[in-house]
Symmetry: D5
Subunit: 149 residues, 10 copies
């Protein structure tokens, strides 16, 4: 009896196979008919996939059933703090440190006392052309949940 492959190891194998096959995250997302951010997060270990989704991925990438089994497991979510200091990710954290209290104030002003759900939630990242340099546009879209006793 082997334990189920750790999701971090499955992610390493998916990434290696993806690069060697010349495939993109967006292409994998299209193949399983899911959003790119969701699909990438799932393949990096943050969401469980269905058996069908996992099956498409391992077939496209020439990986084994052990990878497919791993991709379907319930994850422990969240990232190692060391990863969060990578500059590309850190800028997102810095933006929250600078603008978080302002976003909180405006959420309360518009919606009342509550939060934007991070569970009933989706995210997208797109390119917006700009003559001064193209821009990364990240959209965070979550259901408002009011504090309700």
């Amino acid at each position: 009896m082997d334990p189920i492959m750790h999701k971090a190891h499955a992610a390493d194998l998916v990434n290696a196979a993806r690069i060697r096959a010349g495939l993109t995250w967006a292409g994998l997302a299209a193949a399983i008919g899911a959003a790119p951010v969701w699909t990438t997060a799932a393949l990096l270990g943050q969401h469980p996939m269905t058996a069908a989704q996992a099956g498409v991925v391992v077939e496209m990438l020439g990986l084994g059933d052990d990878v497919a089994e791993s991709l379907q497991q319930q994850p422990n979510r969240g990232s190692d703090p060391a990863v969060m200091s990578d500059p590309t990710i850190y800028r997102l954290m810095e933006a929250m440190s600078v603008y978080g209290p302002a976003l909180k104030a405006l959420i309360h002003e518009e919606f009342g006392d509550g939060i934007m759900s991070a569970i009933n939630f989706k995210a997208d990242v797109t390119r917006r052309a700009d003559p001064d340099g193209d821009r990364v546009v990240i959209t965070l879209d979550g259901k408002f949940l009011d504090y309700r006793w």
Copy 2:
């Protein structure tokens, strides 16, 4: 000679006067002709205002020149970690912990090696009606900066 009023104290006074006068952050933003997230962040101490902007704010709120002087100063930016664990703000941090590596992967896939600037950057928060419950939509929009030696 008094030191310049600390921005946290100015923010407390702005907030108290704003609430007692029945004004919104959005209303203050409209009065100075700036974006709501920028204006709220500036009044909470994260951006310097121009003398004209600060003057409009203190006149609307019946505050003194010491507040206006404070609002114009260069800040030390960032928020106390204790504030970042407020549930409304924490959900943003959690989303970055769950989706940050996926956003990084997709930024690299679309733009190459680089970051979304948090300096040449704007943010917005809006309400999107939804029959299952309205949604908070936060847009982060920053210039792509490639690692360029």
Copy 3:
């Protein structure tokens, strides 16, 4: 213009007046018609009260309008880590450290991938008589939120 009284100071005043008047948290909750855990949390600074609720409290306790104003403000929620190591509170944290992964596994088994909301949420604490020593029974009751993209 004075800043709004800090919620920690309002809580100190409410607590002092409550003790000197011989009133209980449960009694204050009954007076405003709200649940005991909600009311106590609100008076300790974790929830905003309505003007009516705050008015009842300050009248019962002989406190001023500045306290009532403070009680109505939107809080930054959460407790100082130093407080969380008080033995009465720490036992709750220890229980989560010992049983948290089991509770997570059982939530997923019963409900699927998601969480118990801490926003659409209520809590209660009661006494249950037991010949071996009475027991504290804490109920946490939150809406299940499934990860839904």
Copy 4:
């Protein structure tokens, strides 16, 4: 002479065998006649099992005596902080950060100076149907221990 299998490794093997056999945590609990939260916690490494309990589990799951031996050992209890930031578990921690001081105040009001034991303690998690969405109900039930010199 091999060292005794580490409980984390035993938990991985139990979980893998459980999933591949299509068994639930609740089913394993029923098989050994113990509560679901206790059983799940024990199989994840937080409680020692009796030889009889461990024997039933490894027979149901087709695992070896080395797993059974491991399940009977005295644990070092507690979870890695990284696990505690998983959103499903974090919501429990957040609830304690928001409501912990209120629960402490109400325990003292009802019982006097003391704690809810986390040792003479049991927990349960159930589903409560609700037209606005079913709810997770977690009950923490511990003996009151007064500070007694």
Copy 5:
């Protein structure tokens, strides 16, 4: 309405008056008929006193009713980590770091799976004459609590 005097401030006043009056902690303990460690801990803010005990203390020390009121309050227990690195206290922590796992193993061997209560608990510190230098003997005496579901 003044808030109740903070227990740290009451402890500072008790200590100052005690020193200026030439009284010992042991003498205060004898006066209220309680154990020295309990009394000292209570006066330093870790236990609530009864009104009678607090009354004896403030009368002996010439302190006011505000101190007596403070001494009777329910504390948030525990010490600032900075205090725990004082060498006299640190040696106790170091002993636990070196011998804690051995004490745990022997508690389990003698009593089974459980803990020594820190609530139903008493402590004492005495001098034991020794020709090689007198010794500090600290006794920790707590009820065994077995893990009991």
Copy 6:
């Protein structure tokens, strides 16, 4: 040339052999004629053993010379912070957090400015029968060392 076996690995082997042979820590202590807390701490890696002591242990347990060699090495003392949050050990730490400043005050009152040595030190753990439930009694006994320049 192999490195000397790490003391944590030796401790795992000692513990496994001890359990499989049905021996107690107290029994091993008696066999080498040393105190139970010292012996258990030494076998868990906190003290070096003499060659004779190590020889008795490995012979009783059927372990190899590599274990005996490891048991004789000078340790780096102290425990991983993760271990210190095990509830059985944590109660000892909590007691120090609650009573540490009181113990310090009483040590100074009785002995003057100094510490209880944690080096010229011994500890014991015993059971004391009590009709309300037997008690764990831990004695810490260290030479007083005065601050002496």
Copy 7:
């Protein structure tokens, strides 16, 4: 007898007077004949000034002798970690996190085993015009110190 004014308070007064007088850090540096980075660091509390330097500064800024006395004191050097996360400062830290090991490798390759002194050290910040946007050029210039026993 008043204590000497804390350097952080002196820095606040210097900064307030500087802004109100319309003076620059560079102008203050020129007035005392010292480098801009050194002067600014000294006025912010990181270096002691001579009596002559401090006298020039307080006269230019209309501040009192208490400020001049403070500016001459030996500092405890270093900045609060909260300040180091300001984005303008953080980029310097991030550059060290990304390039620090490379700088170390090249220092060792060119100079041997040793360090760049941060004591026998000077720093400068200048503007370099660039058609793609002007650049900040920071020079760190410290004596090489070889590990020399």
Copy 8:
């Protein structure tokens, strides 16, 4: 399918081969026609190389295609905090702690509100002869980015 070699392992192999071949970091930089700091950082895992650059390196060093593949991957940037306390690197951090606020003030004075980019950025380290001991001169050169909404 093997995962792609971890960049830390590739760096270890590059470094071992470089030393055994008697090559310098500067020599490798010259061979690929890139700056020494950039090249060293890239080979230590902080920048992706082009296939051509990686090919030159592995051929010079007699390493395999698996190393070349690793060197081309997008990194997670940043260094382990343990590495940052090496004295050679720590002096750079200390300089930022002592001079960071001064550099920030002078950047704002010369350029306005903004930062020196750490992305559109280059660094160099050179030797400057000095009769009192040669000096390490590190130049940090980044584009100024103004806070621009």
Copy 9:
């Protein structure tokens, strides 16, 4: 009744008076007939002084009885971590991080299993002339304490 003056405040007053009177730490030490490191540490709050020593100091410095009372109190010893990162102090810590394990190995080799006491301990700092630059020589001299059960 005032609390006893905090030792940090007494140290600030001693230091201010010392500087204004043009006295040295060494001079104060000579006046009370104690070692310079001991005296300076005591005046900075790390040791209690006798009434006679405190009396000499406050008379030399023109300070009040409240300072003398404070200097005689039992301290909570140790320094704020922020102070330990001052470069002059940090070098001592760095030396311990680099040489600590070697010092430990040599202490064990020469003395056996034990420690250098930090209680029965004295320290000195002297200047040693050297043509390459004078040297700071710090001597740490503590009684060897063997682990003795």
Copy 10:
């Protein structure tokens, strides 16, 4: 191509061979003609050795060329914080926490504003006979470096 042996592994092998051969650190130091603290630190991984020194060591200890190669590499210096809490090392840290500010004050008084170098530095540990118990005498001897711009 193998990576160069990690210095921690080389240190483990050196230590094992040293113990089995009955050699002392001091003996190894004498054999290579270097100071005992330097030699021990170098063999534990804190300094690079020359090829000649490394050659003598591996020949005396019967170790391989891979160890000799490792001993010659440039280290990343510093010790794991876990090691620093070993009691023998911790006493050194505690002494710095208690006496560090006093040593700093006396260094400034004797030498002016600057530091004791930890690079141009040597250390020694000796035994001093004392009728009350022999003493460990540690000498830290570093060049004074003044803050020199």
